[in-house]
């Protein structure tokens, strides 16, 4: 069973606040990802990392930033939340190389900005 955790699960916050969404995995995976997903829509990749000190922007432009100081930890930060940031944020991880292309997902954070 995959061990990837996200906190908080739900967050309601006012406009202009700074927030950090936490993501941790205990599988030792090198690759980690952040997706944004709205109901009825595809998952959009907003950030990814291939290892410590590696971060890249994804296919969907995002005002968030990420860091990867430790293999197991990949937090996402919004400096100033806006209502347009209301969405579900999903963190995932996968092995580097090998025969498996599967990404393991955390339970997600449902963010509402009022």
């Amino acid at each position: 069973e995959a061990d990837i955790y996200q906190t908080p699960r739900y967050l309601v916050i006012g406009t202009g606040k700074k927030i950090t969404l936490e993501c941790s995995q205990t599988m030792g995976h090198d690759k980690m990802y952040w997706y944004q997903q709205d109901p009825g829509m595809e998952l959009h990749l907003i950030h990814y990392s291939y290892g410590v000190n590696s971060t890249e922007k994804g296919d969907l432009s995002s005002e968030s930033t990420v860091s990867r100081i430790r293999t197991e930890h990949f937090p996402l930060t919004l400096e100033s939340a806006r209502p347009s940031h209301t969405s579900q944020y999903l963190c995932a991880s996968s092995e580097m190389g090998g025969a498996s292309y599967e990404q393991y997902f955390g339970p997600g954070t449902r963010l509402t900005v009022t």
Partner: protein, 111 residues
């Protein structure tokens, strides 16, 4: 430009019958395909996958078919059970370690 398309947003099926979910893709560089299942307020969980060198992969009640010439894959669930009611995402992988996802199909299994 969306490279993976699931044109049916929803599907309703009677318990015990077959569910068929369809997925089309445009990028011929995709070489591996996955299906994920997602319940509300949870993250997606991996269901089944298929390599581009195969045309069929089966795992219990789930079978995925790939038609490379048509750039089309489908997921068959038989027999459908109430616990199968969820959103199903098709995803495709190229050689950059990233997945491209479709918009999902919501399956409702009626008793």
């Amino acid at each position: 430009d969306q490279q993976v398309k699931q044109n049916s947003p929803s599907l309703s099926v009677q318990e015990g019958r077959i569910s068929i979910l369809n997925c089309d893709y445009t990028n011929s560089m995709f070489d591996y395909f996955l299906w994920y299942k997602k319940y509300p307020a949870e993250g997606p969980t991996f269901l089944i996958s298929i390599s581009s060198i195969k045309d069929k992969n089966e795992d219990g009640r789930f079978t995925v078919f790939l038609n490379k010439s048509a750039k089309h894959l489908s997921l068959h669930i038989v027999p459908s059970q109430p616990g199968d009611s969820a959103v199903y995402f098709c995803a495709a992988y190229s050689n950059d370690y990233k997945l491209s996802f479709g918009a999902g199909t919501t399956v409702t299994v009626r008793a």
